[in-house]
């Protein structure tokens, strides 16, 4: 049975309001900067069968993981999913991402019937393992990446399991923060339950289920129509991943997109087997990475749900870099999965240029600085770095923007950092030295962020990709520029890093976090002289940079 168009619209509005409300509560009550600043979490509502019907606007990493995770729990628990339960999983190999991401799943029973699942997945600041933050950039096994809880009941009959709480508290470095985030997560799925209950009381269980299916079916139909409008064919892309954290060797990856009628298959056959280092992702994260770009193709602004992805299949052999199996390390999975996204992006961009930009700095450039805080307690300062995005067919690329894998993700306030940690930021600026990809439209600029250590005993872990392979240009535009970390101490030469573990930093040393500029779009010779003059006036481009990119300059207007 279908709902009427009015009830449908009203229920859809309430579902979006509900997932947004979950997100607000999470961000405002969490004790972890990864949540409240970086918004590395997401909330959603799924059908009793485990199909996502509504998701908050947070980051793209979780675009496709919810369904796989909930279906995996349904398979695991079968009939043993009861009212009052809350399930927890952080297993990368069961639809998840990495062990840091705790999924809290509430089966919502209304009138005795399973009506929906509410889910909240959040990145915990630390889940134990080899290093603070639980993601050693040079890990070689999942066992170095912290505690795994692959499908457990953290609550039965609405009571927290004391045993599990004990296990968690004894196995993570910052148990107070972990418990704070667990509380916040549980609050959000309970809010979802209250709101769903209100919907069922008002519109009836049948209408609510019908509305769920209508959301999925109409999204599917729109996605199929969008795909059908593209020319049939096979489309290819290749890319290089710059090292896995253990080895610097280039990793060659590829995709073939087969577009037939209203379906698309993304085939990653031919990608290398899983790597020794932790940039592997498992199948759930691969699905999510491909879905992110597919969503950008078919309906970038529409609310996300699993219906959109029904025309999409993802094919890949087992235990490749994109389909790692236990016990492969996956701590930095997004450093791998972003390349799966970019492969699909590269292959699709020529088909619908009005939906895509040229290559970006791509890597989230996540940076972990740890040590002893101004309050005498240990701290872990985690932040992603923002960087340059590629140009489009109509305008220059955006500067200092968060990478594809994240989304509504803020940079960290310098004033807040300096109040909390023995760190001083001496510069946060556009990276004009490295420049950007030239083109009729140029790429956006990356950033430079300089941290000076005010105390001894700080430690740096970071994993910067795209340190050698440049962001691609489009339609004759030049490629962008690379990301890098440099380290300066008095009297020693500057050292340069990409993926780095356990770098001890002394008082007075400065670490520069540098992200690259995006690729250009279109022949640089076609660039408007006024745009070149403006960039020069703005100090983005020196005269010599301008002449190198665009040829001899005329007289400034």
């Amino acid at each position: 049975m279908a709902t009427d168009p009015v009830t449908q619209e009203i229920i859809e509005g309430k579902l979006i309001a509900t997932v947004d409300e979950m997100g607000i509560v999470m961000a405002r009550t969490s004790m972890s900067p990864v949540i409240y600043e970086v918004l590395d979490f997401a909330c959603g509502i799924l059908t009793p069968q485990g199909e996502l019907v509504a998701q908050m606007n947070g980051i793209t990493l979780f675009t496709g993981t919810f369904g796989a995770q909930v279906r995996s729990l349904i398979r695991q628990f079968g009939d043993d999913i009861l009212p009052g339960d809350i399930l927890l999983t952080n297993d990368p190999f069961a639809g998840g991402t990495h062990a840091c991401d705790f999924a809290i799943v509430r089966p919502v029973f209304i009138g005795g019937a399973l009506t929906a699942f509410a889910i909240n997945v959040a990145h915990y600041l630390d889940v134990g393992g080899a290093v603070p933050g639980s993601v050693p950039p040079n890990a070689t096994s999942v066992f170095q990446e912290g505690l795994r809880l692959p499908g457990v009941k953290i609550m039965r009959a609405d009571l927290l399991s004391a045993e599990l709480v004990n296990i968690i508290c004894e196995n993570v470095r910052l148990p107070e923060i972990a418990m704070g985030d667990l509380n916040a997560q549980i609050a959000t799925v309970r809010i979802a339950e209250v709101r769903l209950n209100e919907m069922v009381v008002k519109y009836g269980a049948v209408a609510v289920q019908a509305a769920f299916h209508h959301i999925l079916d109409t999204s599917e139909a729109q996605a199929r129509a969008s795909v059908a409008a593209l020319p049939d064919g096979d489309y290819h892309a290749t890319d290089v991943i710059d090292g896995d954290g253990v080895s610097d060797a280039p990793i060659h990856v590829r995709v073939t997109l087969r577009k037939r009628g209203d379906r698309i298959e993304a085939d990653f056959t031919g990608c290398p087997s899983a790597t020794q280092g932790p940039i592997n992702c498992a199948r759930g994260a691969l699905q999510s990475a491909v879905k992110t770009v597919f969503k950008a193709l078919v309906a970038p602004q529409a609310p996300s749900n699993d219906g959109w992805f029904r025309p999409l299949t993802v094919t890949a052999p087992d235990d490749t870099i994109f389909t790692a199996r236990k016990p492969r390390p996956t701590g930095w999975y997004y450093e791998g999965s972003v390349h799966a996204s970019e492969l699909v992006w590269q292959a699709l961009a020529p088909l619908r240029p009005e939906r895509f930009s040229a290559g970006s700095y791509a890597s989230l450039c996540a940076t972990y600085l740890s040590g002893t805080g101004n309050d005498g307690l240990p701290f872990i300062h985690v932040e992603p770095q923002h960087g340059g995005w590629g140009a489009t067919a109509e305008w220059d690329g955006t500067a200092g923007l968060i990478a594809l894998t994240d989304g509504d993700t803020y940079n960290y306030s310098v004033e807040v950092i300096e109040a909390k940690f023995p760190l001083r930021v001496n510069r946060y600026a556009l990276n004009t030295d490295s420049g950007v990809g030239a083109g009729q439209y140029r790429g956006g600029y990356g950033i430079v962020r300089d941290y000076e250590m005010l105390e001894d005993g700080c430690m740096l872990h970071a994993s910067f990709g795209r340190t050698r392979t440049l962001p691609w240009g489009m339609a004759g535009g030049s490629p962008g520029t690379t990301n890098e970390i440099t380290c300066k101490a008095a009297g020693t030469p500057i050292r340069t890093y990409g993926r780095i573990s356990d770098l001890a930093l002394a008082k007075g040393e400065t670490v520069s976090l540098i992200t690259g500029g995006g690729g250009g779009w279109g022949d640089p010779a076609l660039r408007d002289a006024a745009d070149i003059a403006r960039d020069t006036r703005y100090g983005l481009l020196t005269k010599s940079q301008a002449e190198a990119a665009y040829g001899p300059l005329g007289v400034e207007p």
């Binding site: 309001a17 405002r28 900067p33 996300s304 923002h386 703005y538």
Partner: protein, 682 residues
Amino acid sequence: MIRLATDVGGTFTDLVGYDEVTGALYSAKALTTPRDQSGGVLDTIAAAAGLDPTRVGFFAHGGTTVINAITERKGVRTALVTTLGFRDVLEIGRGNRPDLYNLRFQSPKPFVPRHLRFEVRERLDAKGQVVTPIETKDLTAIAEACKAEGVEAVGIIFLHSYANPAHEKVAATALAAMLPGVTICASHQISREWREYERSNTVALNAYVQPIIQRYFARLEAALAAKGVECPYFAMQSNGGIATFQQAVDRPLTLVESGPAGGVAGAARIGQALDMADVLYLDVGGTTAKCSLIRDGRPKLNTAYKLEHSRLYPGYPVQVPVVDIVEIGAGGGSIAAMDLRGSLRVGPQSAGSVPGPSCYATGGSDPTVTDALLTLGVFDPATFAGGTMALDTSLARTAIGLVAGPMGLTMEDAALAILDVAFANMINALKLVTVQRGHDPRDAALVVSGGAGPALAARLGREMQARCTVIPPHPGIFSAWGMLAARPRADFRTTWFARFDPAALEEAKAQFGALKSEAITHFGRGVDADIQYDMSVDVRYRGQEHGVLCPVLPDDSADNLAERFHAIHARTYTFRLDAAEIEITGLHLEATLNTKTITLAPVSTEGRELKQSRKGTRSVYFQSLGWTECAVHDRDLLPVGPTFVGPMLIEEPTATTLVLPGQIVTITRTGILLINEAEAVG
């Protein structure tokens, strides 16, 4: 003495005046004059029949000069002076990409271009201690560059100036001396809160509009004086209070939501008149509806206000006190359409005033909320807008047919469907400011204003289970009316960090004492001025980033305050952590000068009789009852006191109120319409 308020809106400028001696009321409307809004203001004064400008003793003004200069990017050529290494903060912003799947996302463009952003060698640490003394030579070069570039305003933002403004003061003084005639504005003068991007944006926008508002107020003052209006002039601020023109010129960004704040101030005044401390206020305009919550008689402030923000766009955060308003794209002109998914959507597209709803017969052909209300008989084609605009029912029905056909509904049911969706959107917004922030709407009076508001109010009140539904006087020009109810107000917020314990509370109280001295200076009425102080602190559990605002009472003990915080946290976010450590991160003092505001005088009972008020009947279509005859009454002639049983229509020049079957309605002694459920009253 006459109290006068004018509110400049997008299309019309409204005037409301009240003679406190005679009780005479003046109102007028004139077209807004966009290039110089003072023209429209003067037109309303000229149009207000019987108004003697020389008897005006209080003048309040709300306008869109500031917001227009920002949204149209028509501020002055502005420079920004920053700490060395940080001139790009304004451009990078927070770097977030809320439009997740848009791979061509563009960040908000900075209001100051890169070549006008200058750096100075200086540095403070987070405690405000000097790390690098300010290099004043750098300022000389900056002043030269500003002259060469024809800069008209300069904003100054140094890191950690919220903790110590000394370097900003040095720079401001030096630049002012070198750049005569140029507006100089340092961040600490506008905001003493941390977060460098938000404060940079605040000072840049403040500088960007300051010369504009200065010239505008100068013109307005001259024009008012020429008309004989010689009294203190006040500007409506976004915090729900008023400030003198001079105070507003110093901090023009505080006027950014001037108009909507007037309505909020009015709603608070209505709540006071009804002795209801909690008010849920909804204003339904042509394109949007705005709602906000008033708790304990005070409008709630939004601590993270962003201009041009949406679910998919970061907008421009500014650190000025703005009443917490949730705005949604559902108003009288909102267009209904079937979307690609086969659902009925209403808004955010709006027919606005041009071309207007189909029934205006001014060129619009889309079905709108107004067309639905006309089709259902709620509006009378002949008396709409006081009879100044005849509506065309057949055009409305033709438009409604565009969605009735695809849904397989009758004209009437399609019109109801449009309203159902509009109601649901409004209820989501009303719940956002109440239920979702831990407040029970059943404790609040729902005050509804705006052209289409009173026609929708009764149903909203019923669905929200509001304590009662209230249609204030002059619902069509309520923002202007509200400005007559506003008091001089200033907000002082500072970032101040302490681990919470009894000593910290004492220290906080001492800090509040200093802020109170600032408030006394601000109002300039001497130490004996009757100022109401409301203190609150930003409090959080250790480890959290975001706090909740928790009121502080003068005689609070640490235990009292801690318990209040736990309770607020639980109410807002559903849980409390009794064992966790608590931190204070900010102090907030609201200072309100207790001046007289508009009197809600008893309305004249003369000539108020049912047989006078009854204008006839009209058929209205209800979901359950179908077409039903409803009595139509003139609000200004309805007897005061007795209750009347719905369904019923109550008309006045700027609005039509629909009372539903099962509801009862009363006019209070002060002329306020109160709608209640018959059943609830018993």
